[in-house]
Each structure stands twice: as C-alpha cells, then as structure tokens.
Symmetry: C2
C-alpha cells in the first residue's frame, strides 16, 4: 500500500482497555490481523497502550507486552498516552466509574455494556454532553449487527414506527433446542451452559433483562428521551414449557423471546420483552441459535431487517473495533460529530396495561367437568373473546388430576387480561398462576 493512497493520517492514537477477557482479546487480535487494512480504509492507526485486568498473572493473548498491564483502571484512564478508553469489564458499578472518569478526562469511550447504559445511561449521557465527549456503544446491542449505527445514522431521517428484535442469543438457543430437539427448559439451559452459550449464572439472559437492556438502548436512540428501566415490562423464558412450544407449533407459530418497541399514533412508546408466538412464515421465526435479528420500520425506509451473530469474540470485537475507529476519527477531525442522548426532553412510555395483542394462556387446572365453562364464563364477563381452547391429554400420566388447559384469546388490552386472570386464579379448579404468551402479528 503506497502511503499516497491512504487518507492523510493522524498520529497513532492510544487506546486503553479496561478488561481483557474474550472480547478484549478479540479486539487485540483484530488489530494484530487487520491493522493495515483498517488504516488504509479509514486513516486510523491505533496502539493499545494500556490494559487493566483483575489478575495480572493470568495468561493473555499472545504478543501483548507485560508492561501494558495494570490492575488499576485509573492507570488506564489517566495515562496521557491513552486517547480513548474501551470499557469491557461489565457490571454497573466499577464500569460506571471508569466511563465517568474517562469522559471527565475528555477521552471518548467505547463500551459494549448494555446494562450500564440502560440502567445508568441518564447520568453517563449527561456527562457525555457536558464534556462534549462521546460514548460509542455499537457492541452493546446485537454483537456484530450494526443496529446502533443503522438507527442513529442511517435512519436519521425516519420516524421509527417499530422495532422488533430477537436480541438474546442464550434464550434463543434454549428455545430453539426446546423446539427442535424437544428438550425441557432445564435440559436446554444445561446444554447452553455446557456449550458456553449461557453463563454459569444465566439470570440476566433467561429473565429477559439482557434483551430488555438492548431494547431500551434502541428505543432511546429512536425516540430520544430518557427511559426509566423500572417502567419497562420484562418477562423471561423461565416459565416456558415443552407443552407451550408444541402448542405453538401446531398452531403455526414459533416461540421466541421478543423485544417490541413501537410508537403509537398518540406518540406513546410501547416497549416490552417477553416470550411470544410469532408466525412460522415470518422471517424472524427462522432466526435460530445464537443469532440475533432486528426488524426496523421507518416512515420513509419501510421494512428492514438486520441479522447476524449476536455475541462471541469475533462478532463483538468487530463492533468494538468499528467504534474505536469512529471515536478515533472524531478525535482526529475535531470532536464528536453525532448528537448526544437524550435529544428529546419528553416522551412517554405506554403503560403495559394499555398495550394489546392476542394471547395464548396456559392454566394448570384440576381435571373435572365444568372447568372450561368456568374459565370461559369469566373471560366472557370481561368481554374477552376466545378463539380456541384445548386440553391436551397428559400422555405420560392419563389419570393425573391436574392438566394443562390452554386458551387462545382475541386482541384485548393487557390490563384487562391481567385483572381477568386474577379472577380466574381464584377459581377452585385453577391451581397456579396462568402463563401468558403474546401472539405477535409483526408487520
């Protein structure tokens, strides 16, 4: 590559990493492999000059000079050779301190920490604006899929009508294995853990919050106001059972952990994450394993879909590297060039009670005459229409006293459904809290 062809180069920028696990190693390796390509394409040349780790004795990626390591993240942020800080330690406490300190030092930040930004973004984005120092977070949502850039930059001219995403690979893998191999939930989770697709503590993945954090970030970009994560409706996959999967299948649906973000005509924003039935014909139904996908509807762009690897060393490093280049270009060319968050001072979440879809509800009932009538009467009194009801025979135990009874319900407000289910729970023949799935008719 002749130097004349390359863009006029800046001097090499110094990068500091806080955290050097899987993703950090991936970032290091990507620059080892593709530094010249990156420089040729973008004019950006970087040097990873300082790396904070918890245990300095642990073996690391090959070729990293020992003197780069420190156990004190302050060494990374305050090092004058560090122009940009990459936060990869996760969590919302020390990570917060690192990001805040970097911004105060006017060093742009790259992070893949969705929990941090979804829960404490308000403070960090305010700091970012105050210090005119950007936070780049492409790696926080959907691994290698450039969905942040798409929503922020490529669809900048669009009112975002809706975003529908499968953005937790662990849940998606577990649901796929329950669907394809007929595994039970615990069994599928165990398999995911063995394969490294689920953490030893899989809580945030299976309870829906990892996906919800990402949905909150996407909604913040799309609608510009600060979203209180405490107001966001989130349900995980822990209560999904084989029977739900097989019912979905027989009805032409697939069960997916779905994030739905939508702007209503009254300007209210619906955000929710929960296991949902989606049509086998929709392209999202074929997003399997650890892949992620986000469908975006803009008022000008129409329907789009972004699909790719949602996690893992290479895919996440790909997005971190893109953000390092973006941040470096900002430094080389006179400051950050995108807007800061939030960019609207108001905005309102739609109460989950006001959102509406059709539903699938499973009841654990005592097997006795009149059960369907009792439940159906309560639903009828509430004005909720039934489109189907099934009481499968318990093949393993045909004489069981307790059976699963499922109802498909017409579209109604979730609040009405919830209060009606409370009434149904009080019936003697109903033995536990009903399990609800949304039936999503995705545009």
């Amino acid at each position: 590559m002749s130097k004349e062809l390359g863009k006029k180069r800046g001097t090499k920028l110094g990068i500091g990493l806080a955290g050097f696990g899987t993703v950090g190693t991936g970032v290091w390796e990507t620059f080892q492999k593709n530094a010249e390509l990156i420089a040729n394409r973008s004019g950006v040349e970087v040097d990873i000059v300082r790396i904070a780790v918890r245990d300095i004795t642990k073996s690391r990626a090959e070729g990293v000079a020992a003197e780069k390591f420190t156990t004190d993240w302050n060494d990374v942020v305050s090092d004058p050779a560090v122009d940009l800080v990459v936060e990869l330690i996760g969590g919302t406490t020390t990570a917060f301190d690192i990001v805040a300190a970097a911004i105060r030092a006017k060093k742009p930040v790259v992070t893949g920490n969705k929990a941090l930004l979804a829960e404490r973004g308000q403070e960090l984005f305010a700091l970012s604006r105050e210090y005119d120092t950007p936070i780049h977070f492409e790696a926080a949502v959907a691994g290698a899929i450039p969905i942040i850039k798409a929503v922020q930059d490529s669809f900048v001219g669009n009112r975002i009508e809706s975003m529908t995403g499968i953005i937790n690979g662990t849940s998606n893998y577990i649901l796929e294995r329950m669907t394809e191999a007929g595994l039970g939930y615990e069994e599928a989770l165990g398999e995911a853990q063995q394969l490294g697709y689920a953490e030893a503590d899989p809580t945030l993945d299976v309870n829906g919050w990892d996906a919800a954090h990402k949905a909150i970030l996407l909604a913040t970009l799309a609608y510009g106001f600060t979203i209180d994560y405490n107001q966001v409706y989130v349900r995980g996959i822990e209560r999904v059972r084989a029977i739900d999967i097989s019912f979905a299948k027989s009805l032409g649906y697939v069960v997916k952990l779905l994030c739905v973000v939508r702007e209503h005509d009254n300007g209210m924003i619906e955000i929710r994450t929960q296991p949902s039935f989606i049509s086998q014909n929709h392209v999202l139904s074929s997003v399997n394993g650890v892949f992620n996908a986000v469908a975006v509807n803009g008022d000008a762009s129409g329907e789009s879909l972004f699909y790719g690897r949602g996690a893992g060393k290479g895919p996440t490093a790909s997005s971190v590297v893109a953000d390092i280049v973006e941040g470096s270009l900002g430094i080389n060319h006179g400051g950050s060039h995108r807007g800061f968050l939030p960019y609207e001072d108001k905005g309102q979440l739609m109460p989950i009670e006001d959102t509406e879809t059709p539903y699938y509800v499973r009841f654990d009932v005592t097997d006795e005459p009149g059960v369907i009538a009792k439940i159906a009467n309560t639903l009828a009194d509430a004005g909720i229409g039934i489109s189907g009801t099934h009481s499968p025979v318990n093949a393993e135990n045909p004489d069981a006293d307790f059976v699963d009874m499922v109802f498909q319900l017409h579209t109604c407000k979730f609040g009405l459904l919830k209060s009606t289910l409370k009434d149904i729970e009080k019936l003697d023949c109903v033995n536990s809290r009903p399990v609800v799935f949304r039936i999503e008719n995705i545009v």
Copy 2:
C-alpha cells in the same frame, strides 16, 4: 424540544438538488416532515435552496417556492448558498459533470447514481481525494438498506470474505412472478412495467448491469482497489424460461439474479452477476418482490444479512437524507472523516474462467436417440461430472422435434465448462447456445 438538549447547532446548511423526480421529491418531503427530528438527533439543519430540473413548468412537490428552480445545473453548483450538492438525475454524462464541478467547488456530493460511480468512479474518486471532498453514495446500493455504511464503517475491522446479494428489485420481481404465478418472462416483465417496478426501457435491470454496478461499488469498498467494470462478468435474466424455474423448484432451488463477491485465499477477487439456483432453505431464497438483501461474511463479524426495500421514493430518500446529514456533519466538524476510494493501489479480479461452482445447463436439442450419450461423452472427455440429466416431455407439443434437455453438473471451472459447451454446440443435435445457471451454495 428545548434547544438546550440539542447538540450545539451549526448554522443551516444549504443543499442544492440536481434532479427533482421521485427521489428528489421524497427527499424534500422527508425534510418537510422530519426536519425537527433530524435536527434533534444530529444537530444538522438544512435548507434546500436550489433545485435544477429539466422542465421548469412541470408541477412539483407542494410548497417548493418557484424561485428555487432553475434549468441550469451550474446555478445549483455555483450558488454560494449551496454547501452540498445532491445529484439525482442519473446517467453518466451530465451527472458526471455535476459531481465533478461540485467537488472542484469543494462541495460534498450525495448521489444515488450507481452507474456513474461504477463506470466513472475512478475519475470522480480521484477528484474527491484531490479536493478532499467526499462523495456519499448510500442510496446507490439497495435503497434503504445501509449496506454502504455497514461495509465501510461497521465492518471496517473485518477482512470481507464474501458478499452475496439480491440487489435488483425489478429482476427479482420478474423471477418471483415466474416462480409463483407461472408467468413467462415477457408476461412478467410487462406486469412489472405496468406496476411501475420496471422502466419503459428495462435494459439495465434485466441484463444484470444495474445489479453489477452495485456489486462493483460494494467490492470497491470492501477491497479498496479500482475495479474495471469491463472485466466484470454479468449476465441478466432475459434468457430464463419457465422450464428453468420449474426445474429449479423440483430440485429444491429458487432462481435469483445473484451478485457474488468473494475474496479467495490467493487474494484474488471474484465478482459476478448472473441468474443462479439457490437453496430453498437459504434465507436469501425468501427475498421476494422488490426487496433487496445482501449477506456479508467478515473474518471477525461472521455471517450477517441486511434486508429491506431496494428502491422507491421513501426508501431511497431515506438513504439520501442520511447521506446529507453525514455530509453536513463533515462540513460542520472540519471536513470529511472517512477514507477515500481507492484505498489500495493494487488488487486483482479473478478471471471468470477460473471461478467454479456446480451448474445447471439447458440445451435445446433435436429429439432423437443418442442425444444424451453425445452430450455426456463430450462432458466426460472434458472431465466434467454429471449429477443428473432430465429431458422433460413437452406437454404442449408432445410430437415436437425439438426438446429441452437439462444437465446438472458437478463443480468445475467455468472456463472448462465454457469451452466444453462450445464443443457441444457443434453437435448436430444441439440447436442453439446452451443456457447456464450457477448452483450457488451460499455460506
């Protein structure tokens, strides 16, 4: 929206449009509708100050002041109030002059003109570099799909292993109608024209060149060297017949006009556009109608897919507006911030003769004993393996002397296939040039 929240604003930038047809009107309308949203998100405020049109008397979008119009594009480029020029007239002559003049005036350019950049990009990109003035061309490839930004920015850290795209909506619509409704080629084309999906002169769409232009741009971004479009292999859909579609179907394939871009281990770049058989199980097979999709494989990112509307007023305007914002940010924040093209001074296209796939070949033969043997012998002599051969009965005319005979062939170099087909053409029983489809096993 309180002004404090917005990014520090630049002054309003002046935009000049050359061309005010469907897309130009869409751009105008998008700013009419979403200007405040765009300003809040990006800090960019623009004013479309001058518009060059061919016929000044023609009725235009509502609300455009008459004094903005001119029939001389020089008025747009030279207007001191114009900071950025949007070229939307198409073609490769006047459009070239407009883009070149704008760059010489150091005014960033936004264009959706794939033919211009694929055929005359070498000159324009050189000018762009010389004058340090960027050309933005997201709208040139795949309408609303942000594939340019994805390849250029989001995958900047990746060696791009391959890109496979369905990027001509007209061809895709025609092939879909032939597949789904059993229409013949001419009939499907007529329907596409009636619906406005095909131009009165559909040449560039159906002969593959519109798609090829886009593939050339994607390859230029991915590999950085100047690609001579004369060296690129391009075949259109004009010779696809109903029999090919139904054969594909019975073999588990769908016929798509496919662009394939791939880097080989020896560093050579394969680029080709042609009707291809792809598996019904691959997600690209379900890209229907006027939708586009591009699958991208990066060495870090792994497999990704981008899907959306490939053309039309809103989708194309969405990308033009994104580029106007990008260009405006560049002006507001001290110049263009991405690398210029080309960024490599060398690179080599793989001769089409050296590329290899399995094939489907249809021969028009005289219906007489020994035909299969003759063709099979010639293939055998060349060392080309046959995986299947079929001679469908001509249901409409069972006594016809001429029939279609199809062969499925194992993977071999295209050069070998070509020379062998030349030999087969010389056989008395073969009546015309064979029709070849690649069978693509897309990763």
